[in-house]
């Protein structure tokens, strides 16, 4: 199904140039999603336009986000003016690569207010004076990217505009930390997320839940270097060690001792085990 999708080589080349990406890292579905994502359509709406399940589209979104090709951004009341001023540009730039959005990217969000506002899921129009979110294709200069929250993941029929991401300040995770969860090599064989798994009531920030699930779902296709977040073929023992220690801090089950980790507990354990055997493998080389 995905193979039959049309790819416009010109757009591919242009977008990849922005981040000096290897376009082969993108799956056909990624490209299509990139073409259709305008920051307004929900996953299920997109699913009507693209022959793919909403979950697959969500997966593509994450993939694109990992590549830095799209950013989720949000704005709230405090930065409303800024949002308004930037809005025309924001929505237009939804399709154009490489447009900086730094003025919006750092804005903080109050997820409580945002999700309670009925206008966000009920209407397609942008209302002045309420928080707004949009998905933008393109790379922000500050490299900030954010993810939609659990609610949005659970119900993919929610309007995309109402997708709210937890800011690093809210989630307790800095971008650097988030970045460490990402393997540098990306996979063309994505497994699909289970949006129902994400659970805001757990003691794991939603972003971390997404990463845990992402890595867990892709464990079998990850090489030892991938697991440690190293470029393929790394042999420097010190680098390997450092990468292992970093990963340990993220995935050692003790990090979540006595915390409510729900369905993630076995996933975290599985990831840690994979990481330590990856380390042992690389160490033995």
């Amino acid at each position: 199904m995905k193979e039959s999708l049309h790819i416009n080589p010109e757009i591919v080349a242009r977008r990849c140039a922005v981040k000096s990406l290897d376009y082969r890292q993108l799956t056909p579905l990624d490209w299509i999603v990139l073409d259709f994502a305008d920051g307004l359509k929900s996953f299920s709406e997109l699913s009507r336009l693209i022959p793919a399940e909403p979950e697959d589209i969500a997966t593509a979104y994450y993939h694109l986000r990992l590549l830095g090709l799209i950013t989720w951004q949000s704005s709230n009341n405090t930065s409303r003016t800024g949002a308004e001023q930037n809005r025309p540009e924001t929505s237009r730039s939804g399709m154009s690569a490489g447009v900086g959005q730094s003025s919006l990217n750092r804005s903080s969000v109050n997820p409580g207010i945002a999700t309670q506002n009925p206008s966000r899921s009920g209407s397609n129009q942008s209302l002045v004076g309420v928080p707004q979110q949009s998905v933008t294709a393109g790379v922000s200069p500050s490299g900030i990217s954010q993810l939609p929250n659990a609610g949005a993941m659970r119900d993919s029929s929610l309007r995309m505009r109402s997708v709210i991401s937890l800011t690093p300040a809210v989630s307790g995770y800095s971008d650097e930390v988030c970045a460490q969860y990402l393997p540098p090599r990306l996979f063309t064989t994505f497994r699909r997320f289970q949006p129902t798994l994400l659970n805001a009531s757990l003691d794991i920030p939603t972003e971390a839940q997404v990463f845990i699930e992402f890595i867990h779902e892709n464990l079998s296709s990850m090489s030892p270097c991938d697991l440690l977040g190293l470029p393929e073929g790394t042999t420097d023992k010190a680098l390997i060690r450092q990468a292992y220690l970093n990963r340990t801090k993220q995935f050692h089950p003790d990090r979540y001792f006595r915390k409510n980790t729900g369905a993630f507990a076995p996933r975290i354990a599985a990831i840690f085990k994979a990481i330590s055997s990856a380390f042992a493998t690389l160490q033995a080389q």
Partner: protein, 598 residues
């Protein structure tokens, strides 16, 4: 309210408790003012439990009802040759309990070993609770790295019986490394050399940015200070036998005295070149004339007696280095733990072996408890600052064809971990497979410790070798082993949790926990009653004084006299706390009435 968790070093000879208070680990001294509590339990004639210093103090006069060194026995079965060895040498009675378990006897009552340890744990918990003024249930207890599963499990049982919630069992050398590493933050590889009262442990760890990574761990559960003592005792007994043709080993009282003197002499020889051993009236000869031991032992003599023990520790160090894939030169620091490392010969040997002087400023008696407390505190509070990557101490695997031990998870594998192997059926139409889970280091299956046994049935019939069965070992961060057997074609599987199978049944543990709690409650009741009687006595004294000095009208004087009489009776035979307190109140009321009337 701040939550506290105990770090407990449950030692063979001495135990120690620590907590983290306001971010700082502290060692809590017991009521006698000592920072370590002897791991000794006794039952007095009154039936009262004596623990620690109190038990040690009466060890000579009450030798058969005083139990010590139980860490050498815990988690073993009665048939264990090492247990048989203990039975021969220890002065208290050791008998066989249900399902091959061991029981020790004090005043005709049998106790399991976890119960004995529970008494010590309870005492330490009390020490900490008295200090903090709150109740604490969470604890990390340390064990020698080389403890096997049953020994760890028995230690957890001890915690349970003591009413503690054992957060985790961690290895003593690892705990010591945590205590050392939180103070010395630089990136380094260290060796922890722990020679305690009963066990020897050596661990190689790397410490890096808050991560404690155990590279290898090994040791000997039957090599410690007591072996050094025994060498000296043997020497003294032999000399005595030569001289008087009397075997002192047959006299438990004499052996007790010898043991104490030998240990004292050993410790003195850490400071001095020679020491005197003086044991007057150690026994009588055939004619009933008293015999004495009065001899001088020099440091050199003593070192000659134990040099092979020290060499044994170094051999084990060599293995530890090899397993960790490092050499002496990679070790940045050597941390000495355990009272025995105070012996100059040990220090010299270690320094020579590792080509460097051991780390200074580490208290070898306290560092393990401190590390346990730091780890416990880190676990229960948000923001785990350091992470411990410990390893499996022994090979884990299953018994295979020909009675061999097939290792699935090799020792020194970082936990948590998962390992699996695929086996196949060995004869046609085999429908079940017996799986025996083992732990140990011997090639022959039978020589290793059996952790569990189960039958994987429901295998698809087929020719021999046609069915693939995967056996998967899962070890979680607590060291609990889970084993799954799975038919790879049908995905039919069988899952067992192996560990947490101790020598005690859950019912037994429950009963012991209840007995312990009952005893403590009764004890507390007695203590409360005593306290109440003391208050009553004070009030009685005030009233008596008042009665004597104040010129009271006859009816009141009569009333007072009557009250004093009843009060005195109650002091003589107090019944319940409530009644005693009521009497005290009555007397206090009378006192205030008289005072008002004047």
């Amino acid at each position: 309210m701040t939550e506290y968790a105990l770090g407990i070093d449950l030692g063979t000879t001495n135990s120690c408790v620590s907590i983290v208070e306001q971010g700082k680990p502290i060692i809590i001294a017991n009521s006698a003012g000592y920072k370590t509590t002897p791991s000794i339990v006794a039952i007095a004639e009154s039936g009262k439990r004596l623990i620690g210093q109190l038990a040690k103090r009466q060890a000579i006069t009450n030798a058969t009802n005083t139990v010590y060194s139980t860490k050498r026995l815990i988690g073993r079965t009665i048939h264990d040759p090492e247990v048989q060895n203990c039975i021969a040498t220890l002065p208290y009675e050791i008998v066989e309990g249900p399902h091959d378990d061991i029981r020790v006897v004090m005043r005709d009552k049998q106790y399991s070993l976890p119960e004995i340890s529970a008494m010590i744990l309870g005492e330490l918990r009390q020490v900490a609770e008295n200090y903090l003024g709150t109740s604490i249930t969470d604890a990390i207890i340390t064990v020698p790295a080389y403890f096997n599963d049953a020994q760890r499990q028995a230690t957890i049982d001890a915690g349970t019986i003591a009413g503690l919630n054992v957060l985790r069992i961690i290895n003593e050398p690892t705990a010591a490394a945590i205590a050392y590493g939180t103070q010395n933050k630089k990136r380094q590889t260290i060796a922890v050399f722990d020679l305690g009262g009963g066990t020897f442990d050596i661990s190689i760890l790397s410490i890096d940015d808050g991560i404690f990574n155990v590279l290898s761990t090994t040791g000997d559960t039957f090599l410690g200070g007591e072996d050094f003592d025994n060498r000296l005792i043997e020497y003294l007994v032999l000399n005595f036998a030569r001289e008087h043709d009397i075997d002192l080993r047959e006299d438990p009282m004499a052996m007790q005295r010898l043991k104490i003197s030998a240990e004292k002499a050993k410790c003195e020889l850490s400071e001095m070149k020679s020491t005197e051993i003086n044991l007057p009236f150690i026994c009588t000869d055939a004619q009933g004339a008293p015999l004495h031991i009065n001899t001088t032992v020099t440091l050199e003599q003593f070192e000659n007696l134990v040099i092979d023990l020290v060499k044994r520790t170094l051999k084990i160090c060599q293995v530890a280095l090899m397993n960790a894939n490092v050499t002496q030169n990679d070790i940045d620091e050597v941390v000495l733990v355990g009272g025995m490392t105070r012996m100059p010969l040990v220090q010299r040997a270690v320094a020579e072996f590792f080509h460097k002087q051991p780390a200074k400023n580490i208290n070898p008696d306290e560092v393990v408890a401190v590390g346990a407390a730091i780890q416990a505190d880190g676990l229960i509070h948000q923001g785990q600052k350091h992470i411990l990557l410990d390893v499996t101490p022994l090979d884990l695997g299953i018994a295979v064809h020909g009675g061999k031990f097939h290792v699935i998870t090799p020792k020194n594998t970082t936990i948590p971990c998962t390992n699996s192997v695929v086996f196949t059926t060995s004869f046609d139409n085999q429908t079940s497979l017996r799986i025996v889970v083992l732990q140990g280091e011997q090639q022959q299956a039978a020589e290793n410790q059996r952790l569990a046994e189960f039958t994987f049935s429901g295998i698809r019939p087929g020719p021999a070798g046609s069915v693939d069965i995967q056996i998967k070992f899962d070890v979680d961060p607590d060291g609990i082993v889970n084993v799954t057997a799975k038919d790879l074609q049908t995905q039919h599987e069988h899952f067992v949790t192996v560990s947490r199978s101790s020598n005690l049944t859950p019912e037994e543990i429950e009963q012991m926990t209840k007995d312990n709690a009952d005893y403590l409650a009764a004890e507390k009741m007695n203590a409360d009653l005593k306290q109440a009687v003391e208050y009553l006595k004070l009030s009685l004294k005030s009233l008596r004084d008042l009665n004597a000095t104040a010129n009271l009208p006859a009816p009141i004087a009569n009333f007072t006299r009557n009250l004093l009489q009843r009060g005195d009776d109650l002091v003589k035979s107090p019944d319940t706390v409530v009644n005693v307190n009521r009497m005290t109140d009555d007397i206090n009321n009378a006192i205030s009435l008289i005072n008002e009337g004047q």
